[in-house]
Symmetry: C2
Subunit: 271 residues, 2 copies
């Protein structure tokens, strides 16, 4: 029984590959031949998949140039993935934090028992500390943002994760269950998570949760810098800056208003 690549449904797997190829291609779209080459399938197969995706609106075909591109339905579905709306909402906050501190700022959300980095913004400070890429995952609890997410979950949830996820955390030796329990306590007491070089020796990071109405963390903002830039006093200031933006986001989530861009109000012209 040959291992096929981890997909449980072949067609879904292949269709997803096709979509990803289109996503990474130019916005004008790709020709059938390009798609065929990139996904490594016969042209008949690629053609059939593309037209299947065309039927459901995930792909669009410019009949003149015969170029395939991602379609409107996919855009709609992406926008309907509401958990991630926070990325758009938080973009200005990340930019302000990066500009204000000079360091690298991350936005993470909880995804199952992992923290998923969904956005990043880089400040001007010359030594850049890119420990996480957008799309990267960490076990819950490992790293400042991830720890902030874990510390503000339900008690039962935390207990389960500490108990079950040993395997996932094992590559990070400083994050065993008993050490994590202490960290969670401190995080809750101070309101922010602190990672003092536990993953990469020279690097430290602060993280704060973004809470929903029920007080559960749905996202985390964090800042990473070399340890010299993370001593007591500065750390407190960073935590404070993070907290202020995180609160703003919490309020935005609660009211579901995007951001006060509406400052510029235009008066009535004709009625």
């Amino acid at each position: 029984m040959p291992e096929n690549g981890g997909a449980s449904v072949q067609t879904i797997d292949r269709a997803a590959s096709v979509l990803r190829v289109l996503a990474s291609g130019p916005s004008e779209g790709l020709r059938l031949a390009d798609v065929t080459a990139a996904v490594g399938l016969g042209k008949a197969t690629a053609h059939r998949l593309l037209h299947g995706l065309l039927d459901v609106g995930f792909v669009e075909l410019d009949t003149a140039s015969k170029r395939y591109a991602l379609g409107y339905e996919l855009f709609v579905l992406g926008a309907a993935a509401r958990r991630f709306q926070i990325v758009d909402m938080a973009r200005p906050a990340l930019a302000r934090l990066a500009a204000g501190t000079g360091d690298t700022v991350y936005l993470s959300v909880r995804d199952g028992d992992q923290a998923l980095c969904v956005d990043r913004s880089t400040g001007h400070y010359p030594i850049r500390t890119l420990t996480l890429d957008v799309g990267d995952r960490r076990p819950l609890g490992v790293g400042a943002g991830s720890l902030a997410l874990l510390a503000f979950q339900d008690e039962a949830e935390i207990a389960r994760i500490l108990r079950d996820d040993h395997a996932a955390r094992s590559p990070f030796e400083r994050f065993a269950a008993d050490r994590l329990r202490d960290m969670i306590r401190i995080t809750r007491a101070t309101g922010h998570a602190f990672n003092d070089g536990y993953i990469v020796g020279a690097m430290a990071a602060v993280g704060v949760p973004v809470l929903d109405e029920t007080g559960k963390a749905v996202a985390a903002l964090s800042i990473a810098a070399i340890r010299e830039r993370m001593q007591e006093a500065r750390r407190a200031e960073l935590a404070e800056a993070l907290r202020s933006e995180a609160d703003r986001l919490s309020r935005m989530l609660a009211t579901n208003r995007p951001d006060e861009t509406g400052a510029e109000q235009t008066r009535e012209e004709l009625s």
Copy 2:
């Protein structure tokens, strides 16, 4: 040979149904049973599809609550459908126009040989004229926004569409090829399209193109109102307001900067 519903690839069609069900459900996600009921498939089938989608990251499963929701990969793909980025960019413009005029404002993009309405904003004027829903399509040329899109395409393209798309336009008797040719000429001369009750008698609309660097229309802004609110003078004012926002959008597309939210600049805190 029973008609199955128009899908050329069954699995893609079914998977798309599953995703749409998840999209229309609550953001906490849906249980397997809910999905099963909504798509009308056996639970074994629904389960397999969901796990196939899980493998490619289009769906996420909260293992504690056993709820399925749209996943991060779908969000990423949606964001990669760059043609539609303009929706986010244009939202403030639509809001300003709706507030400033009181009427209904539409954003359309070209999709093949159709105009696709991708966003709408409603003003306060009591008589609302909702001729188009978001997601609706019209043949290119039919309606103010659609006409603005058509008029600013390549010559060859326009010729082909006028020649080939009779069938698509036939439900709209006032938009035959020869009449359209005149309309296009006028639209180009004045810089805006005008639909003086050609679709729905009591309704009129103005539309302007959003041009890319090459001068081709990639989108259109339009305003619809009852004919009384669309006389000569007001029409000119509306066209002017649309034009100004459309130009702004063109510039945004060219530079690919989102919007000048960055008004509030935070000063350096520590470096």
